[in-house]
Symmetry: D3
Subunit: 248 residues, 6 copies
């Protein structure tokens, strides 16, 4: 039994509230246990300079935490005047993951800005961000569909993410909370599509290593957890779910 | 009648949700119409270097907006690598206002960090921040009282803020929303204590001016609106309200 | 009697030297007691990007202090690599104040850059900057009139600023010097036009508050002091004074 | 056949020159095909503040490229005034990887600074950096052993890294050069210990995905390539090789 | 004849006003033709960390220009967030020059901060800064002598600076103004002591070169001009002049 | 005899390796004793904004050190987020020196980017950079000649640099190594053309001064050393040497 009474293969409760903020084209609050992230998707009618004239769109992501999302208050990155390596790594990951399931050729010269702002953190903020941002992006494209700006949903497949890890006692577990993450020897983030293909695997032993057998068991746990996540996304999106994949 | 059906002397609906985030000592979500601000108060057991050894505490505030709190997405200040003049002006105002009603001598060598993060903006974000931050600070001190760290509530009086202004047709109005604020010739923020004393008055004519008579009418509107705000704070704080002023 | 032998309603001696530096279109050294500020107004034949194509001009201000303008040497903001909140607040105030009395429609697509550099500080540097900058701006427009670039003086009214405050003994005083400012419970800056309208009122209680009656007495003191200031500006500007208001 | 005449499971030629620069405790030039990286390991007799008093050491890494290491000249990060997300991601990876095979408890309160400076880039700079930095670190500890500062080699195992990927035609290949990397659909970096355990797996589909079967084939290719790399490291280190693992 | 009616070996008029600003220990305004620089010397009772415990002092200099010191308004370095290469070069030169004539062993663990702020520029701002800063530093030490903090004037010799150059017609000239400096093929700054020794020679051909014979003629011109400068410094300093050299 | 067995008028051994890195148009590794600098010259087919439309080219230089080029590891300037004054001074010097011997009118609207990266430092890094960068620039233009982009070698003369100094015992020496440089009272860098004209002389007494006679002896030492340097450059460049000066 884990510190929050879960079995090793249990996800925490996931709740996705849509239309959380009224300005963005797509806006959700995702709660994964005590982790809470506001994911906003904004559509801008132009692309960054390096992509102009290609008739293609772009997706970029930013990630931040409120100073008191964590047990200890963090100094704001705006006060420090620079963004930390951890933040950059996470926002590059979120952007890359979303681009893998969006048909950028079909959205015209538009940029989707995805903002993931963690208001409360209890482990797994980057994977919650990806899972929530996917829903926000589909909702934003839903608005473009409604207005007739685009005629087909440019999202090719579902996209979700979760973490798996190995505790110091050797147990492999799914969806680590903060305490588990602090104690784990190995931490792996898995980003996967609805059809079961990998988008990103990042497995890390901090002052530790892992065997091929452990890798296989972790991938199995992640895969099973992600099936549940895709179902929650499907329920949240309702009819829009059926349009996913229509440009394939 | 105003664009949101209010009379000139009507506040927007105010809702204060306490214990909004679980890590900070005091945490509220304040909603003033469509303006929504998370106000967190964190207690740190030391003071900044310039105050050490005086046996006295300090209160400091930070203010930020999510990029999509507004109609147009804003670039994050962490990405720009610097905090704007507007942000600095607001966070200096919030800190100053809170310090005016807290008995810093009674809180020991502690710093209260107040974080006001606007998640949705529709005008009046700085005044909503002050009104909400006051509640968060009282709640945080309530925790210290409960733990016995301090024996008396070090807050001397209630503190609230609202805006008043003059529309281009000459009407004075209370609690401007974003559209009204954009159109107004004069904008004034009033910060007041529960006993009716001013803490801060900032009246500004942008490419315009105002007469003494207009000033008097605006101060009257602000005073009346603030009485309602103090009642809402009182209702939110419940029994803790009665301890305000006990160090006087 | 005050620490420099003034009555509570006395201004310090004010001296305005014109054509102080030879490159700027308008240049003055203003001395208010021991406070000395170089105010330069430069005319640039274009406006910032957000204003292009509107046929309208802009006024922007910058403010700085020499490191040894003060009793203790300050670190240069260029060495720190960022401008402080206090500096930003002051330069925003100066720009806003000047824009309120200039008919931006009448100056074409030009920017007036106002630089206020404090070479010696003894309290009231922001109000001295406004009073001096007004003269520098009128002089700069005078040059444009002489060259025939514009045909009417685009300044609608006189503009001056001063401070008032409440000492810890409860006395309201006019034009605080540095020692008074350090000791005062309430500090208020008043920016006013020659016809007696307010442009800006910023009243602040640092760890203190003020009543409505105190506010009224402070406004009266400020108003009386400003009449003297307008007379000094008028004397300094000579014939150019008569052209102020001709576009109204 | 690949663009440089290799089979899909061929590494490029690897050459490691030791004692490349004379100041650092450990210094190597590693050449992997046309990729050339100077890896320097410096020992400092103290640890960062967050680790003081624990009797434990720390390893940290920095990574940079000369402006003309690449086909197009890059702007220096010192001129831009900030380090890019890519650079931060890489230097965090190198540091983490090295820490996984060093017994930090056995090196005392010392910091090992690892500097990887790419002087010529042709793909695989981060994996070449890890492979070369490992040798530099062992050499640096060798110096401490010779001086008697430490009595056992604190390195627990060999450490190497390589990349694998999937070309657009579906072929899995080992050790991608720059052209292959630009064209690949999937790119995976594998960091492994001499005993075959994973330290880090980072597999990424940029605008693409990969199946479980592809993952398995890529891991096999990486594993085989890494055995050759460990042999080259062993040959380079000579007698010092035999001391690796003696603290286990 | 030169553009301002001088002969090739004529200095511009030099005027040094002492006690220009009242806070610094030493303060002068130096005017060299139309170039005007405020030079302030501040004494701080401690040295930078790298010098602590040596019983020795330090002199450091900062240099800046008001935005409108020049014909075209310059952007403030504080707004740009960094100091230009030119500024750094000049402030390093000023500091080095002053240190060469001050007996740092005799001033105790004190730092002399020298601030040179150009309020009007017409060529030769760095050499005017050195000549003026020397006077400010002697005046500051004079204050320490008066207070009995030190017992001997720690300045070993006079120090002055001027520029020489070669015009495009081949003429060597002394003390270039801005127009001459813009046109010159060679520009040389010479810093010299009262006993005729060189402290610094910086001769530069921008897109040009100079012969040994030209060098000799320029050094002669500089030497003659500097004798006049030392006389002006001597007259300005009065009795304090006689104490220069008393620690030798 | 000096600490490395040289006579006072001996250069250290100089070795210039061409085509050191394969991407830049011109690339050399210059070794002057233990000082090693990679000098790369890159040709870009445009000029900076301030030079556009003049039909003329530009040369600009950047200089950096690897963190462990020195005995003590230095913090990277990219990590500090700003370039030091020393670095700026050196890169301005290198750029200026190269521009003095290149006929910028003959290279069209192109920029030559010169990167000097010190991988090992033992004094004289700036003069080694100039001597090596000259060779890299000639090689880069050689590539343009070969491709027929330009028809004549736009380099007007050879360019070399060395240092001279005065030790504390009064001896004048040529080509100071790091230990000598640390101990010297006077340090002078001399940049000269092949025909014996000066491009730059920078003589500095740090807390010391020098006489005219010492200056003359140092210039003689520098001149003799530079003749050897020009011969080494000539040998390195082979046939390209003969084309230097053909646009004169």
């Amino acid at each position: 039994m884990r510190n929050d009474q879960r079995n090793s293969d249990n996800l925490r409760a996931i709740k996705i509230t849509t239309e959380y903020i009224n300005h963005p084209e797509g806006s959700v609050l995702i709660e994964v246990g005590n982790t809470k992230v506001i994911c906003n998707a904004s559509i801008e009618d132009r692309v960054p300079p390096f992509m102009r004239g290609q008739g293609k769109g772009w997706i970029t992501a930013e990630y931040a935490m409120l100073p008191r999302a964590t047990e200890q208050r963090n100094i704001r990155e705006s006060s420090k005047g620079k963004v930390s390596g951890r933040t950059m790594e996470i926002q590059r990951l979120i952007g890359r993951a979303l681009r893998s399931v969006v048909d950028l050729e079909k959205i015209g010269e538009r940029t989707v800005w995805v903002d993931c702002d963690v208001i409360q953190a209890d482990g797994g903020t980057r994977t919650a961000s990806i899972t929530g941002a996917f829903v926000a992006v589909v909702l934003a494209f839903g608005k473009l569909l409604n207005k007739g700006t685009i005629s087909k949903m440019p999202v090719k497949d579902f996209l979700g993410a979760t973490s798996v890890g190995v505790l110091s006692n050797g147990t492999e577990i799914l969806d680590l909370n903060y305490l588990e993450d602090s104690e784990a020897q190995v931490d792996m983030n898995v980003v996967m599509t609805g059809t079961g293909e990998f988008v990103e695997i990042q497995g890390t032993g901090e002052e530790s290593t892992f065997t091929n057998a452990q890798l296989m068991r972790m991938l199995k746990l992640a895969n099973d957890g992600l099936q549940e996540i895709f179902q929650i996304q499907r329920n949240t999106l309702g009819d829009l779910s059926d349009r996913i994949g229509e440009t394939k």
